[in-house]
């Protein structure tokens, strides 16, 4: 048990505990904050794997953006506490069996496939990332930017016209 192992298992346990709260909590606000904890833990995993820039972006976008959106949506729709535990289409047991079957299949593949592993040496990851985004990967960057503009304008338009707006 070395220090990387302790770090990794600590982060993993935290993430999975938060995921369990998201899955089983009756209160949607509690689920939202558990999702916040899970995304913070995943940012830690990114840092652990040497993607420091990605860890910062994860914290900025999830904590600063997505979580605020979730909390706003919860408050707008004012259904904080759920009465029902599950929906009608899928009860807990079949859903759990389905997820466990999928998990078993994935774990079988992961632990039997012969990966050739070489750990990448730690290096400052941000400068080559910026050069690639403004060089070889310029088109994906621009397409993503256009998509974000379109979706945000669309979100405003959709959220604005409800029943009152006449749509």
């Amino acid at each position: 048990m070395t220090i990387p192992h302790i770090l990794f298992y600590g982060l993993a346990l935290g993430i999975l505990a938060c995921t369990a709260v998201v899955a089983f909590s009756r209160s949607i606000v509690r689920s939202a904050f558990a999702l916040l904890g899970a995304t913070l833990g995943i940012a830690g995993i990114f840092g652990f794997l040497g993607a420091d820039y990605l860890a910062v972006v994860q914290v900025m976008i999830y904590v600063g953006g997505i979580m605020v959106l979730f909390l706003f949506a919860v408050m707008f729709t004012s259904q904080i506490a759920e009465v029902k535990a599950t929906n009608r289409a899928m009860r807990r047991l079949p859903a759990a069996l389905l997820c466990l079957a999928w998990l078993g299949m994935a774990l079988f593949v992961i632990w039997t496939y012969p990966f050739v592993q070489r750990v990448q040496a730690d290096r400052p990851a941000t400068p080559p990332l910026g050069e690639a985004l403004l060089g070889h990967y310029l088109l994906p960057l621009e397409v993503t930017g256009v998509l974000v503009v379109v979706t945000l304008v669309g979100a405003v338009a959709i959220g604005r016209y409800g029943k009152k707006g006449g749509a």
Binding site: I15, V22, L54, L69, R118
Partner: protein, 102 residues
Amino acid sequence: MGVTLQQVLTLSAVLFAGGLYVVLTRPNAIAILMGVELILNAVNINFVAFERYVHHGIAGTLAALITIVLAAAEVAVALAIVISVFKSIGTIEIDETNELKG
């Protein structure tokens, strides 16, 4: 021997299964979106893990970066739709929102 690729992929697979369970069982549309976020995060962990252990370079980080941005855009649109549905039907329980042109 540090943490291996298999351990990171196992974490990601368990996270994906948890997100799938959330999507399948929660009755609330916002909670279902949270499950989708968990699934997207699991995929991002896979991208970064494969970049670190198998395919060195920056392609994995770039893919994860674009996925994060797309997740943000997706959540913005989906929550706008949820709020719009709440305004016109009055609930976001997915069992109740079962009629078209309601």
